[in-house]
Symmetry: C2
Subunit: 348 residues, 2 copies
DNA sequence: CTAGAACGAGCGAACGTTCGTCCACTACAC
DNA sequence: GTGTAGTGGACGAACGTTCGCTCGTTCTAG
């Protein structure tokens, strides 16, 4: 009745006062615990809806020592791959009744340390790390002593963190083998930054496929780039000025592959006739480039879901006995490799 | 000294015990308030770092009634435009010391109501709504009585919410006027879902430009779609089968424009010679399509920043006296309209 | 009839903070 | 010597919950 001006949100005590019971009993009813008579139950429940009661999760968390919230540190929310990962993670978290607090790092790759600390201050139950620069940041290790469950998309030095993801060696292998199977002998590749573990693994798969086909593994075939469209564009021009004889390019991610297609267009090279192109990741765009892009599907959405499942399992079990997962990848043949319209089937 | 097993996080009381003062004094030192002698100050500070003290923001929020967190409801985190908006919002929020809790809605567009409630349960200081289906959801109005500051990217019925964004009429106007300036007379358009306010405004701009140029405003020129690449693809085929005489298409967002380019390619129509294409939004991809896409730049990143600034201003001022903002848009001429390589300058 | 179970509800304590008030002391001018 | 500032720090209370214990009543079985 005598509310003060700033409309202080109604608490369980207000509900209790309105239904003539103790606030503890009210709490029990609202959580469906304890035994309460049907009559007072209804009285409390209707008082709660009348007053528009909304529980305060902060207060609850304080006593239960669980926030039902997980933190998500990501290097770049607008990267299409990471986006899919985040969507998968968020949806799985929601299904399991958890909120997601996001924390981004600086564009220059720093600040992951700060982000993790901010999340710990908010007492998240666990953290998902999708922060590639973290691979080089030793300060993460210091945070680990806080004993908070963490699942990471990348390896972190000294962390011993649980990782999720897909088999990147296999990814590079499938993409490159697809090209050797089609009879290509001079296959260049454009990688992400070499310091990244993912780039290293994909490169290893590329080399393995070359080896299987009895092809020489030549350093002039490899060009490093930055995972941006523009980076793929420029790397293609560098690569082709060094090796104009290439008949195929394996771009180690679809975003760069778009730059590759664009560069080949400006150079007057038809795809796939003059130069075949294979990408990686299978972003939505890949099916709509000109020509449509052959690529290896990496299940980022599912990886996000899996990250949350693992994390929640760690939380439930006290971080013990949970093993990381490696999700399978799959070749998607389209026109950019000259195989999309044929009866070509990837050799598993 | 006598810690129990599960490594309960160290609290301000632990720090106090380790430095021989009351925990309230410790709290003051840690927050730089009150007057404390330099000697005990140092003692407390070093005890805090020794013990690895991390403040519990939950407890703080409980008493200060402010979580320094804002909620972000988005319909689709992997949409490139929304991604940019979210990045802008997150970065601005972080700069101002606020965390961001994300909440997505169901793929079918429902659940915005549930998301907002979940955020209120977590007592966020304010909410940013980037949820287009909300425009039709009357239940949002019910939540408004909770008096939480909200800034929305879209109009919400009965909400009277503060909105941010850009001038969508102007967007449609600039894009279409660009085409009429180039001499096109038969200009089709592919819109987003008609129930959306954004689509309506852009369509109005389109019609206004046609009017300015003395062109008839024909219903057969308008095709509704779904903002997906595939939707743009199919809409183009429908549109051209009805009106094969079109010389230009204005796609009301870049994602659909990619589908338009792809469809024109399959139909054997050269862009821009046989059919010019103009998009909207200026996603990163737009500069790398074949041919590069003429579009209208919509400042989503800046809109995200502005949303947070407005929200924080509302929170600080008790929601009074804050006005929404409209950010300017800008034509980006590229090759898909046949103007990119010329000396063409957009009027205005 | 009575012992004990089962039920319904109350109550104190705790979670980790912040905030305002109060107290004890030192120091200084009168 | 007393009065008055000022300083350093203690302390109680509150924020909104959950949890476990206690206690009185009613029901049921012996």
């Amino acid at each position: 009745m005598k509310r003060s001006r700033p409309a202080k949100p109604v608490s369980v005590k207000d509900v209790a006062a309105n239904s003539g019971v103790s606030f503890q009993t009210t709490s029990k009813v609202l959580n469906g615990k304890g035994s309460v008579s049907e009559q007072t139950r209804k009285r409390i429940l209707s008082a709660a809806t009348d007053l528009g009661y909304v529980p305060n999760i902060l207060a609850r968390s304080l006593v239960t020592r669980s926030t039902q919230a997980i933190g998500l540190v990501a290097s770049n929310f607008s990267d299409p791959n990471l986006s899919r990962f985040i969507v998968g993670a968020e949806q799985e978290a929601r299904r399991q009744g958890h909120a997601v607090i996001i924390a981004s790092i600086e564009p220059d790759g720093t600040g992951g340390h700060r982000a993790v600390r901010a999340l710990i201050e908010r007492r998240v139950d666990g953290i998902v790390l999708a922060d590639s620069p973290a691979e080089e940041d030793a300060r993460y290790a210091r945070l680990m002593k806080h004993q908070i469950p963490i699942v990471s998309l990348h390896d972190v030095p000294g962390g011993g963190l649980l990782t999720v993801g897909s088999d990147h060696v296999q990814t590079g292998l499938l993409a490159t083998r697809h090209l050797t199977d089609l009879g290509h002998h001079r296959i260049g590749t454009i990688t992400g930054p070499h310091r990244g573990r993912v780039a290293q693994s994909r490169l290893r798969g590329y080399r393995q496929a070359l080896g299987e086909a009895g092809l020489a593994d030549d350093l002039t075939l490899v060009e490093e780039s930055d995972c941006q469209i523009s980076g793929g564009f420029e790397a293609t021009r560098r690569l082709l000025s060094r090796r104009p004889d290439l008949t195929a390019i394996f771009a180690q991610n679809d975003t760069m592959a778009i730059g590759v297609l664009s560069a080949l267009d400006t150079l007057g090279k038809d795809v796939p006739e003059a130069c075949a192109v294979v990408g990686c990741d299978d972003i939505e765009m890949a099916a709509y480039t000109r020509p449509p892009l052959t690529t290896v599907r990496v299940p980022f959405y599912e990886t996000g879901e899996e990250a949350i499942r693992l994390l929640l399992r760690m939380i439930a079990s006290g971080s013990s006995g949970v093993r990381g997962t490696l999700l399978p990848v799959q070749l998607i043949a389209r026109a950019s490799s000259g195989a999309g319209l044929s009866l070509f089937r990837p050799s598993k």
